[in-house]
């Protein structure tokens, strides 16, 4: 039993160590040459544009269902017209960043782990090193930059589409006047909420992509290992999204409010 705990603890510490080493190498790669600009642009397209559909759908239906559910509750207080306020505050502060993060964890995190894991088991990573290319600069840095900068953009899109989805439900289902809805949307948003909704996605995007890269590059065991790595990346980055969201929210509430 003790031996198992010892092994588990050691492997946990090793994972953390290797994750930190990857961060240091990545940050160094972001601020020094060689810098693979073409790969960065490619990843911005794959992670940003490629995730647009899933983010649009997630945002829209989240906003719509939020209005449906909160409309019922607000009815009890005769406050149905204030539904816009709830949608905007919830989407911008919490649901937009977190649900976008979870979608990115599933789509981008798994894709990165699978791609890098396949490259590891087929010796392509060693081939890159043999050809004089640092795999961190070539593969990890572009993905981290893309995830870091595109997550907030996608979150803003999700928030916008969510509020629009809420508007459609509010007007056609709850029979709230359109002008009333939009007025309550803007009244419900404070600058601090907007800052919170903007800062969080940077953290979540970074965490999702770095976990995907870390798990992918440490893949072992052939195709089975790639499958395991993909699953681990999704699970780990999803849990990390929820956990990081909590800690960042706690910090930002202290700093902003």
């Amino acid at each position: 039993m003790l031996e198992l705990a010892d092994t588990w603890l050691k492997s946990g510490i090793l994972e953390v160590q290797e994750y930190v080493r990857l961060q240091v190498a990545t940050l160094r790669g972001c601020v020094s040459r060689p810098f693979y600009f073409r790969d960065v642009v490619e990843q911005f397209e794959q992670i940003g544009i490629g995730s647009l559909t899933v983010v649009l759908l997630t945002g829209f239906f989240t906003g719509a269902v939020l209005v449906l559910q909160t409309g019922i509750t607000l009815d009890q207080f005769g406050a149905r017209p204030f539904v816009g306020r709830i949608v905007s505050a919830t989407m911008v502060k919490e649901l937009g960043p977190v649900l976008t993060g979870l979608m990115l964890a599933g789509r981008v995190g798994s894709g990165i782990a699978a791609e890098l894991g396949s490259m590891v088991v087929t010796d392509q990573i060693n081939a890159l090193r043999a050809l004089g290319t640092d795999p961190i600069r070539k593969l990890v840095v572009p993905r981290v930059l893309a995830g870091f900068f595109m997550a907030p953009v996608l979150t803003i899109i999700a928030n916008t589409v969510g509020i629009i989805g809420g508007w459609i439900m509010a007007v056609f289902q709850l029979r709230v006047a359109s002008s009333l809805y939009w007025t309550s949307v803007t009244e419900g948003l404070y600058l601090e909420d907007a800052w919170m909704g903007l800062i969080k996605p940077f953290c979540l995007g970074y965490v999702i992509v770095t976990i995907g890269c870390h798990v992918g590059l440490r893949t072992k065991g052939g195709t089975q290992g790639v499958g395991r790595a993909t699953t681990n990346a999704v699970v780990a980055s999803s849990v990390a999204v929820i956990a990081v969201d909590f800690f960042v929210t706690r910090l930002l509430i202290t700093l902003l409010y």
Binding site: Y36, S118, D123, A127, R129, A130, G132, T133
Partner: protein
């Protein structure tokens, strides 16, 4: 303990200016409790070939990865082109790798790139060569290996043998002076394997490349050691090599991480060692 090598005596008697291109001295490596290499020593002169034989798991591919600096040894020293590499950082190793090409098992071609992009990868990404010159070089090496018509295809559209040959083209595109072949013919049919062997021979004889060939395919090992490439007008012919040429190819047999034999093809065939006899039978 390693076998006293015949190459050491040969090196001692040679021109001092012909220093070994590769030198391993008492190199050891273990992963946890598993000893992969123990006190392995050998040298390789410019333009010569070292053929490393051994059963699966005997440490053959490990030697190639150590030479590239992909792994570090636990003990001993490794020198490439006169520079000690076992204590170099990853950044310093990039300069060493500029002169080494490696053909990985299964090719290790980059799936997301075309054949042209794979072959020209080092030239595109890591040098300042103009794109037109890179394209010309890519066409030249693909023509050398007879796959010019596949230049814009993806790796998934190639057969196993074609992928290996493209991997050879990629390794030689930047004109390295050292080429490492890791089981380049394993899993291929005999005809395709001979085609790959002939590429190895042509590179050695026409480009003067120093080669290390790791394999457990005896037929291919002896073919590379005992044949040479000669130009016959516009054609290239692969013929039986004379004794002097054949002696430039040395065999190393690894057994359980140790060097069990080192010598030329004739000495290997004539050996009375029971393990060698079993391996060669």
């Amino acid at each position: 303990m390693s076998v006293e090598t015949s190459s050491a005596a040969a090196v001692a008697g040679r021109d001092p200016s012909e220093q070994p291109v590769i030198s391993l001295d008492k190199v050891s490596l273990a992963f946890d409790d598993k000893v992969v290499l123990k006190d392995v020593s050998f040298t390789l002169l410019p333009g010569h070939t070292k053929i490393i034989l051994g059963a699966s798991g005997s440490g053959k591919s490990t030697i190639l990865k150590l030479l590239l600096g992909l792994w570090k040894p636990d003990g001993g020293t490794i020198s490439v082109n006169g520079e000690r590499i076992d204590n170099m950082s990853e950044l310093q190793l990039m300069k060493v790798r500029a002169d080494i090409g490696m053909v990985f098992q299964e090719g290790a071609l980059f799936d997301s790139l075309t054949v042209a992009e794979n072959v020209g990868y080092k030239l595109y990404e890591e040098t300042d060569m103009p794109l037109d010159d890179v394209r010309r070089r890519v066409e030249e090496v693909l023509g050398f290996i007879g796959l010019a018509q596949y230049i814009d295809r993806g790796p998934s559209e190639l057969s196993g043998g074609q992928r290996r040959r493209v991997a050879i083209a990629r390794a030689m595109a930047a004109k390295p002076r050292i080429l490492l072949y890791d089981e380049a013919t394993t899993g291929l049919d005999p005809i395709t394997a001979v085609t790959v062997d002939e590429e190895v021979i042509k590179l050695r004889d026409f480009e003067g490349v120093t080669s290390i060939v790791v394999t457990h395919q005896l037929r291919d090992a002896f073919y590379v050691a005992t044949h040479e490439a000669i130009r016959d007008g516009d054609r290239v012919r692969i013929t039986q090599a004379d004794e002097q040429k054949a002696d430039e190819a040395e065999f190393i047999m690894l057994k359980d991480g140790l060097v069990a034999f080192e010598g030329n093809a004739s000495e290997l065939r004539a050996s009375n060692d029971p393990y060698l006899k079993t391996f060669l039978s």
